[in-house]
Amino acid sequence: MAHKPINIPVVTAEPVDTDVFIKGLWRQNPIFVQVLGMCPTLAVTNSAINALTMGLATLFVLVMSCGLVSLLRRVIPHHGRIAGFVLIVATFVTIADYAIQAVSLEVHKALGAFVSLIVVNCIILGRIEAFAAKNDLKPAVLDALGMGLGFAAALLVLGGVRELLGSGSIFGARLFGESFAPWVVMLLPSGGFLVLGVLVLGVAWLKTGQAEESK
């Protein structure tokens, strides 16, 4: 007996393609609004280049795996779907891992285990389960692109602020000269929590302002 395809395509509440893409950038930003994927967010954003690499790697894995899951959604059996998703994600993570090693061994060392840990990034599994597994290729990829870009942009902002205050540089270019007094805390995990908290607060505050204006 063949497996019954469980993932029947459903009509989504957001049929407009642009909205599917745009919501991840701001309104449902995975970091500042959904507060997902905190592990890489806090761990690797101590410099802009690390943050950007992590953001781009996640973007790549997210888009590719959401696309593939969307294509295979009628084939993957319902009960084994998480294992199937993880297998697909892991394939693309391996590709990203090797690509980072090939481009810069230094950044790869700085990111450590966190590249491999993209496999269990809850944003990726979340988008697959909640969206890609129920939608056609085009909306699935657009959704993944929006979420991935939102994630990468948020990581870049976080990494930029922490590197600027913690090392006095942006992408390794020193801005303040030799006698810069580093804010040690910014390079430590507690600085990650601090900057993230302030940014989440700022985004929430701006969104409240927007909501009040549109009333």
Partner: protein
Amino acid sequence: MEPLRKTLSIHTSPHIASGADVARIMRHVIYALLPVCGFAIYAFGWAALLTLVVAVVVCWLSEVLFCRLLRKPATLADGSVTITGILFALTLPPGLPLWMTVVGAFAAVGLGKFLFGGLAANVFNPALVGRAFLQAAFPGAMTTWSPVLAADRFSQIPSSLLAAPFMQPNYDTVSSASPLALLKFEHTPTPLGDLFLGTTAGSLGETSSLIILLGGAYLIARGMMSWRIPAGILVAVAVVGGISYVADSERFGSPLFMLFSGGLMLGAMFMATDPVSSPVTHRGCFVYGLLIGLVVVVIRNWGGLAEGVMYAILFANAVSPHIDNWLQPLPFGRKPGHGRERGS
């Protein structure tokens, strides 16, 4: 017909108001702090005066900014933020660059006070939040102590104070170690007389135990401060410090040294007694004080840092609602264990 005259007004307790409002209490705390500020200026000269002025002004400006931003009623006039500024400045090492003072004062009011909702809503003592932020961000500058009673303290402003924003300070004098660091890292005790009078290196307002004790006594005599909190702290430090001194007098300071060195007196009298972040019940205040004293001795004796008053108070601040919850007094007439609601 004669109009009904209101002879009896009915409302819930409290029925007797003491006339003590936020502004009045804060004014008396400022009076008690003035001698401490005066001694800081006498001991450290222009460095102390500039740090105090900058810290207070930045705290005022941040208060106005956040009140506007968050559309809260202005609380500048009640004096609480002035005290935050003064206390914050008094915990800083003399010679700290003024731009770091600005950052810390902004963090004290922004992170310490308004993040939690403004006046009377802060979980932690705002002045100590500002100091903890600076300690985490600039550990080097926060543990560089200028010598006390330097000859040129009124003739020139130390160049480290005027370091350009984001730049490291240049110290033009040889820095001296604080009594606690001397004991911990070089095993050299400081004479008790110096500690009591304040002729040692240290943060601006923490050096003279005598003047701080006088300020605290004034507040207690005026009924503006719970004596149980400082009492709890001093008892715990004396007892736990005494036990550890008896156990190993080579390594650990004597109980009297523990009591009069570092920020203990300033913390016990003015920081831990912040009415917002300390418990409200009488027994709770005592337990809270004991907890602070215990943590101070543990950090000083066995921790990596020479001084632990700041972290001890911040830690106890976090615990204080739980202490209140645990030691809730019974409402009048209710028997223990009878329908008692605990931490509902």
